[in-house]
Symmetry: C2
Subunit: 219 residues, 2 copies
């Protein structure tokens, strides 16, 4: 070792472990994954759970379309504003099966990082394919992944249709729309199933918090 | 609104704002971005800064090759273990200019999410291209991005060569190796420049913490 490279003396890592981050936060990290049809209520319920946890002093963070659509998982049109066209076309995500696969893979990887940071990561995505959700589960340690299926009947979702997307999909203006012309695969082993067509969003959020307490995910 | 869709009654978002997350954490979120040649010391210094901040009760999280290489920014070989080949080839990242661009874009997007969660995100990546670093800066609010250039002379880095990578690059066994056969573009407006060839990693980490205090990023 040369005297001109003193940094190397301390080349070994002094990493802060997940356990130490959890000690600072006062609770463990985990990934709470909401899945279900468009307009099933998952985003609303996830937001309420985030509020409940925050009020309890728990370090949570919500990942949903609002904060990943414009950056991490932006479409090629958004990427093309800052990058070359071939780049935007390769990495931009739309709604094809392959794009959805990558969409969920990236979100899963980010949720894992938040979990490692001792944060309760709350993800709310349609995530229609079972294999994609199970891949996320597979990257996490046992017990770190809590899959919550918001089981709202399609006709209820379609009656809500807050953005008019079902209507457009039925008119053939949107292709690959989950529940209309692209499948939704019901979870087989979800940790919790919410009857999204019954009860208020508040009561469903209460169910989630009760589950997290009962299962020891939060104190 | 039909009576069968009570969730919609509360369809509006009750989002926890960044400000509320920062209040819970007791400090603001930010992105501390270390850039520099391979073996310049950035990862070691970043780790030490993470330790210092953690000891101060600050919620920090370190993003570096160790925790993004195998998941978020995995190579096509790793992705091919769980995904189809065309998927792995499209989204897997190597060291071409386009792949490095996406590597930094994804890390920047994740750092932004941590910042929004009120966490001090510490990123340590070679990030050799100015435009890629500036794009990350451009996605963040003014003051949220702290660029730290670990300015260690190439000959010092090469003398360290802890993984033998410079040797391999000189022998032509690695292409696109920053500093040897791929450029490193020195930051023009870094918030802080560390003389990575002088002083211990500890003293350089102290410099960073002193800067963060002086600039009001941490209390």
């Amino acid at each position: 070792m040369s005297q001109s490279s003193p940094v190397e003396v301390h080349w070994h890592k002094h990493s802060i472990t997940r356990q130490k981050r959890e000690q600072l936060n006062g609770h463990t990290g985990s990934v709470i994954w909401f899945t279900g049809l468009s307009a099933c209520g998952k985003s609303t319920i996830a937001n309420l759970v985030d509020c409940r946890l925050h009020a309890m002093g728990i370090h949570s963070y919500l990942l949903d379309g609002d904060n990943v659509r414009h950056d991490l998982n932006a479409g090629s049109d958004v990427l093309a504003e800052r990058h070359e066209k071939p780049f935007a076309e390769r990495f931009g995500l739309g709604f094809s099966a392959q794009d959805r696969e990558e969409n969920i893979r990236r979100v899963g990887a980010v949720a894992k990082l938040f979990c490692d940071a001792g944060v309760v990561a709350i993800a709310a995505f349609i995530s229609p394919y079972r294999i994609d959700r199970n891949r996320v589960r597979g990257t996490l340690a046992d017990g770190d992944f809590v899959e919550i299926f918001v089981d709202t009947p399609l006709d209820v979702c379609e009656a809500r249709d807050p953005k008019g997307l079902y209507k457009k999909a039925r008119a053939g203006l949107i292709t690959d729309f989950t529940g209309v012309n692209d499948p939704y695969e019901v979870p087989k082993n979800a940790e919790l199933v919410l009857q999204g067509g019954e009860g208020s969003a508040e009561s469903l959020a209460d169910e989630v918090v009760a589950y997290l307490k009962a299962s020891g995910k939060i104190g």
